[in-house]
Symmetry: C2
Subunit: 371 residues, 2 copies
């Protein structure tokens, strides 16, 4: 028995896009879905109520960060991540793998696991696949991820093959180590930018069998076309009756291409991080609110947007807040960007439901070119 | 005709405390009142809707900061401060005097006004009393303040006398320069820590005649007892039928003592600034949320508090957010502190209304000593 229940509601006729419903222990979510990233048990600058208001249904939390601070055992003693952070809805935790590998010189990989130094205090730590599962079980997310190795880009075929094979062995160890029946475990496909290795990885990960399948190791520096190509040939090879998740993706365009390829779940820091840097997403493309052109601009960020920020604040005021380094700048910018991402996904779901996703995708690009 | 209407509802029997109602062009406020400080056209970390939710009825904005950035003329072209910052309620602007004098070496005072350098880019500026009024008229607050000189502490009697006399001449110039009939103008009493000068200043400022009267030049480094003593002998000398405002004050204790002395209005950055530094106000005294003692504490900041933060978050989580440098830490801490200040004022008003302010004041101190 899986802890989650995935139902396919509709499959698009002209593309691989699909509409689904995923029931988790903490609630049901519509797919395709975008998950805001709550690295340190908070989606930066937002309250849980505001996340609901912008349309978020599930959020992601980072295992590495929470393991380092405040510690997974403390979170467990305080009732788990949902209670700790006052988010009663579904949560997905990553495995910590990607963050640990991002530490570069501070980590060393072996068959057994990864030895690394904390980015906070330089203290030494070791995480094996079994440890990652134990940490994620303590955190208590609805969906947890296998511990994987994410190879850099570019990387030699030989290295990526070895890495991919170890990720498969680690996936088996993760499955064996996982015991909480109220958590789903997703496998992660690796294989870098090599189609042969991606296909082999899919075969191995699917043979082990998981509640859902993720594509890892994308958005690590490769060209957009390559990323979209890999999503395009990988997604259809994943089991149709399980959710498909592309990790760490992406721009609005990446989401549209992912949906077009048949992907159901996405997460990315882009809407939140870019917001804090003054970069706003709109139906007509990106707006850098710092720009002098907005100094006396009475319009909202996006006149076509219905969010709280666009209903109440001018570009001129948002520019003033940003230039003044005000916390409200980060808040309002994050609010708008997350609303944009959630609205985009809701519109995409609606388009799939009404059998017009391909036209929706064309219009999405046309609006940007027109402006 | 004054732009505001002040009604005294009740005068306490055992103290000088008074309950009032102040109607401004942007709404009615209950006095005694605490005004959160929105320096740069935003009360740091809060939306206007949240300010309403914590009970704020009027906010203060800083003329110096808004003159420097984004500029008062820009604010005026965008419809004034209320529209610019999406706060439809009453606003009081200070005169810029205190901020300019705080620049220290960067400013030079003469009878004509103050020449100073911007703290942002070092550019040279000059503000006369007439300029300050013009800037405040452009910003469009409901209540504006006379441009005054705030002497340092300690300061020689001779210096403070000269400064106080110039403040009186500036007050006259401010009144003459003020033309907007939809704005009230308050005079400011100076005189440092010298009773003789304070009394003389009150006489001069009242002779000119204003819509309300403020005590300036307090909380500049003097002992608490001295500050309370000055409030105690100055407030009763101010016209009983006009609002009395003590500027830049203070701690919860200062507010209680001010109310006890018959003061109607207060403002201070303390609840907001301290919040961002992890210092929280409670019925039982101050809490430093950084403390290791709170690492696994499931209690809310103040179990007696009914605010959104205390209803939904543990001290352990707030400590984690603070240590992690999260924006949500500043948000939740500010929310709680402003709620504490507003609830304290609401409770004080209720106590005056019910003729038990003196007992309320005793209980306020008793709760702190008990913990």
């Amino acid at each position: 028995m899986s802890a989650i229940d995935f139902r396919l509601i509709k499959k698009d006729r002209d593309s691989a896009a699909r509409l689904g419903s995923l029931t988790t222990p903490h609630g049901r979510i519509d797919t395709p879905i975008f998950m805001p990233v709550g690295t340190q048990a908070t989606v930066k600058a937002m309250t849980p109520e505001e996340l609901r208001e912008v349309g978020a249904q599930i959020i992601l939390a980072n295992t590495y960060h929470l393991y380092i601070r405040p510690g997974h055992e403390l979170v467990a003693r305080l009732g788990g991540l949902h209670e700790f952070m006052h988010w009663p809805g579904p949560i997905l935790t990553d495995s910590g793998g990607f963050q640990v590998f991002s530490l570069g010189e501070l980590r060393k990989i072996s068959e057994e696991g990864v030895r690394f130094q904390s980015h906070l205090d330089g203290s030494y730590h070791f995480i094996s696949p079994e440890d990652s599962i134990a940490i994620q079980e303590a955190l208590g997310g609805d969906i947890i991820m296998c511990f994987d190795e994410c190879p850099p880009y570019p990387a030699e075929f030989g290295y990526v093959r070895k890495s991919m094979e170890m990720t498969s062995r680690w996936a088996k160890r993760c499955k064996d180590a996982h015991h909480r029946s109220d958590q789903a475990l997703f496998g992660i496909v690796q294989g870098g930018m090599y189609r042969e290795l991606r296909e082999e990885s899919i075969g191995e990960i699917c043979r082990i069998g998981f509640d859902g399948y993720a594509l890892g190791g994308l958005s690590v520096g490769e060209e957009k076309e390559l990323m979209h190509e890999i999503m395009g040939y990988c997604a259809p090879l994943l089991p149709a009756d399980k959710p498909r998740y592309v990790m760490g993706i992406g721009t609005p365009e990446d989401l549209i291409e992912g949906i077009n390829a048949g992907v159901d779940m996405f997460d990315c820091v882009m809407p939140t991080r870019n917001a804090r840097n003054g970069m706003l997403f709109t139906t007509f493309g990106r707006v850098n609110i710092k720009g002098a052109a907005y100094a006396e601009d009475r319009l909202p960020i996006d006149p076509a947007c219905s969010c709280y920020v666009c209903k109440n604040y001018s570009r001129a005021y948002l520019r003033h807040l940003y230039r003044s380094g005000e916390i409200l700048a980060s808040r309002l910018n994050t609010w708008h960007n997350l609303h944009y991402y959630q609205a985009l996904m809701a519109d995409a779901r609606q388009a799939i439901a009404e059998g017009r996703f391909t036209r929706f995708r064309q219009e999405f690009y046309a609006k940007r070119q027109a402006s």
